[in-house]
């Protein structure tokens, strides 16, 4: 049977009323937990695992897939409206999305996130069905040195994309890098910078940090301004829906985000955040309205949101074809498979085609359901912003605190939330960008570990970093991205750059 016939058969199986019902429960639950900071899709799937003992294999996996996609989507809602990222993959969305929401464009921001997620989810799920085996081969070629080169590229492109001052951006980035060193070193098992505090042994939780930096810091900042605060937020200005111009600016960003997110999600050490960082940097580079970045550019929401959903589908590639769980949620889904005596891996497509194709088809359906569920809610969500400011920010504080406590019941974690909230407040007062701290916290350990692994395998020979073709290409691109603007600036004292920017129009 061809792939296409399998897929059709899968669609028929996923369309059974009970399976549709499970998908609906899944996406609804997923969206709800995605909205809560701290409680991600991984925890939800884990908590539901025992409940699904009673269901059949297809039904429960369909439900898990729904939660997974729903969670990826739900995280963007709070990012945009409340500047409180629900999970690490929606941190970038908060950057532009929240600025848009404050300018009365929350509706279009939510809509572009929803439609972008749908488009990316659709393309990526089809890609999962048709080209998974090839992607897997590519992913296996990536060893520690290739990952290290990818991280270098991410650092270079991302650090130039945040904020206006390079010095301030780099300062923030290094704060994040320093914080990322806290905890047990993964390669030697030794403690670093934990000062005998057991809670620090596992390092600083990214979501705690993101919620502290964005939500708590912001709340303190607004509160400190008191009556002198700028005009109250306009909930809706213009249409709550996307205009023709919004569509025109979004669709390319969706596609680019998908192309960036899917392969990175499929890599065993990729992770959804990296795709969103790269997508944001790309959109800023290519935008005809670079001046809008930092003030609410719609591409900055559309691209990363598409990337984050595409990578969610990408994660299923190594899970289904190799049995490799590459995210926390995928690891728990693997446990779900095993519960039914199924072993994901190269043989799964051959031994249980009905189940695999049913799952892929239900992803398509879950994706459509999410769109239907969320688009009508946009108008309702935006009303959240009309809540009087003291209420809204008090609510954000409660919400952020509960989410953090819910994810990890520890007093220390709560203390960390508040301390980093204060740090973020001070950074805001002195005009340092917040996002690079999170970027450093996420990318720092990845880059460090991959570099050390590569060097350990080569027994200290540094040349291995450049001798792999993929690593060499990635490093060259990074070097060009770093050096080219400097040369251009030196030659034409910036004229060339501004001309290039102008001629792109």
């Amino acid at each position: 049977m061809s792939t296409f016939e399998f897929l059709l058969q899968g669609l028929v199986s996923a369309m059974e009323p009970m399976n549709l019902f499970y998908a609906l429960i899944g996406v609804t639950l997923g969206t709800m937990v995605g909205v809560l900071p701290g409680i991600g899709p991984a925890t939800t799937v884990a908590l539901l695992l025992p409940v699904t003992y009673q269901l059949d294999a297809t039904g429960s996996l369909i439900m898990f897939a729904g939660i997974y996609y729903g969670g990826m989507y739900g995280g963007s809602t709070t990012s945009i409206l409340l500047n409180t990222p629900g999970e690490s993959a929606s941190i970038v969305t908060a950057l532009e999305g929240n600025k848009m929401a404050r300018a009365g464009r929350g509706g279009p921001a939510l809509a572009t996130a929803a439609i972008g997620s749908f488009v990316a989810g659709l393309i990526a799920t089809l890609a999962l069905a048709f080209i998974a085996p090839y992607i897997v081969k590519l992913a296996l070629v990536f060893g520690p040195r290739e990952y290290f080169a990818l991280m270098v590229l991410a650092f270079v492109t991302v650090s130039s994309a945040f904020g206006n001052s390079t010095l301030r951006g780099l300062t923030s980035l290094f704060i994040g890098l320093a914080l990322s060193l806290v905890g047990i070193d993964q390669l030697t098992g030794q403690n670093r910078l934990s000062f005998g505090v057991p809670d620090l042994l596992d390092g600083i939780e990214v979501t705690t940090m993101a919620v502290a930096m964005f939500a708590i810091g912001e709340t303190l900042y607004i509160a400190a301004q008191g009556e002198a605060a700028p005009d109250k937020i306009e909930a809706i200005r213009g249409s709550v829906w996307m205009t023709a111009q919004d569509w025109g600016r979004s669709w390319k960003a969706w596609l680019r985000g998908t192309v960036i997110g899917f392969p990175i999600g499929a890599m065993p050490a990729g992770g959804a955040e990296i795709g969103t960082f790269l997508s944001y940097a790309t959109e800023k580079r290519l935008s005809k309205h670079p001046e809008e970045f930092g003030n609410g550019a719609i591409e900055g929401v559309a691209g990363p949101e598409a990337a984050n959903n595409a990578s969610a589908a990408g994660t299923l590639v190594p899970l289904l074809t190799l049995g490799l769980p590459t995210s926390a949620t995928a690891a728990i889904m693997l446990a779900g498979f095993q519960q039914y005596g199924l072993q994901p891996g190269p043989l799964l497509f051959a031994t249980n085609p009905q189940l695999v194709w049913g799952l892929i088809a239900s992803l398509l359906i879950a994706n459509l359901m999410l769109l239907v569920l969320n688009l009508p809610l946009v108008g309702l969500w935006v009303k959240l912003l009309t809540i009087p400011k003291p209420w809204l920010y008090a609510g954000i504080l409660v919400f952020a605190t509960l989410g953090t406590i819910g994810a990890n019941p520890s007093v220390f974690e709560l203390g960390m939330l508040l301390v980093f909230g204060l740090v973020a407040y001070i950074m805001r007062v002195f005009d340092y960008p917040i996002a690079p701290v999170i970027v450093g916290l996420i990318l720092g350990p990845l880059a460090e570990q991959q570099l050390r692994r590569a060097l350990a395998i080569s027994q200290g020979d540094v040349t291995v970093l450049f001798t792999s073709p993929i690593a060499a290409v990635l490093l060259s691109v990074a070097a060009i991205a770093l050096v080219l603007p400097l040369i251009l600036r030196a030659r034409g004292r910036g004229d060339a750059l501004s001309q290039m920017a102008a001629s792109e129009d």
Partner: protein, 314 residues
């Protein structure tokens, strides 16, 4: 506003164990991992078999279980209804993290399940047997890179024990730690490392598909369904299992300990538990009473020695 309500509900549900529980089981790890699954399987079996009325599972993640055990020892003292899941990884983590609270500060009840370690190479590798691997290791220990789970964990310890048994300096072992089995598996399949080491379950599907070759398994005797010799048969005196256990709170009276032990025995013998083991591929290595205490003491001493040999514990 419904989200505030929802948030508090969810946060409450996760943070607070209900007071009505007969047994409360702490999984000192995040939801989804091996200890969490053990705790949740126990929960289901205890309830289905009516050994206990209502069972709550609580997750306290962090630092190889040392955060969980510290909390358990201090908060549950004398509480005969509190249980904690643990395992071999905790023994190593207590040593490497210099945890002030150890397994001596709780009441170990029984070993429940275990998984054996296997050494694998990609199917295309020139290494066919353990002897080939040992020869390479003796020629240049650094040139053999081992891919496995976190540093100081069972995989790392097994690699150290193999080197030691082969007469190679364990500090020279070039062990590459990956976060979790998945990432290590990708590095092994991609030929980034010479050999892979982890529990059999991590590699099973790739072995069955013919992408990986098992060189040896760390069990006492050959296992059914796994076409490979034991390390012992291959001339290396290494037997190790990554076991999981259940412990009760400190400060129990002998009668209380007896009652808990009896309940755990009922659990282990129950059909629900045995069926779950089969579907999950866990091996029943149940051991309790003085035999378990003796085995545990032996494992702790041996682990301390090898971690010192590798250089992870001073």
């Amino acid at each position: 506003m419904k989200h505030f309500f929802l948030a508090s509900l969810l946060a409450g549900a996760i943070a607070l164990p209900a007071a009505a529980a007969d047994y409360s089981i702490m999984a000192p790890a995040a939801p989804g991992g091996g200890w969490d699954q053990t705790a949740r399987t126990m929960q289901t079996a205890l309830q289905t078999e009516k050994i206990s009325g209502k069972v709550q599972v609580m997750n306290v993640p962090g630092a190889g279980g040392t955060i969980g055990i510290a909390q358990f020892a201090s908060q549950q003292k004398g509480n005969a209804n509190a249980l904690m899941v643990g395992g071999y990884v905790m023994v190593g983590a207590i040593l490497t993290n210099k945890s002030p609270v150890t397994l001596k500060d709780v009441t170990p009840i029984a070993r429940l399940t275990g998984e054996y370690e296997v050494i694998v190479v990609p199917a295309a590798s020139e290494i066919k047997t353990v002897a080939d691997l040992v020869a390479k290791l003796k020629a240049n220990p650094g040139a053999v890179s081992w891919g496995g789970g976190s540093a100081g964990g069972t995989d790392h310890i097994t690699a150290g024990l193999i080197a030691k048994a082969a007469g190679v300096d364990p500090t020279k072992v070039n062990y590459i730690a990956f976060s979790g089995g998945g990432e290590a598996l990708a590095a092994i399949l991609g030929g980034q490392v010479t050999a892979g080491i982890s529990s059999y379950g991590e590699f099973e599907s790739q072995v069955k598909a013919g992408a990986l070759r098992v060189l040896a398994i760390s069990s006492e005797k050959k296992l059914e369904g796994i076409n490979a010799p034991t390390l012992k048969e291959s001339g290396l005196d290494v037997v190790i299992q990554n076991w999981r256990m259940v412990a009760a709170a400190p400060g129990l009276t002998p009668e209380q300990k007896k009652a808990v032990t009896a309940d755990v025995e009922k659990l282990v013998k129950s059909k629900t538990w045995q069926d779950s083991l089969k579907t999950k591929g866990w091996i029943d290595t149940y051991l309790s009473g003085p035999e378990f205490d003796a085995q545990l003491a032996k494992d702790i001493a041996a682990t301390e020695t090898i971690l010192k040999d590798i250089g992870l514990v001073k």
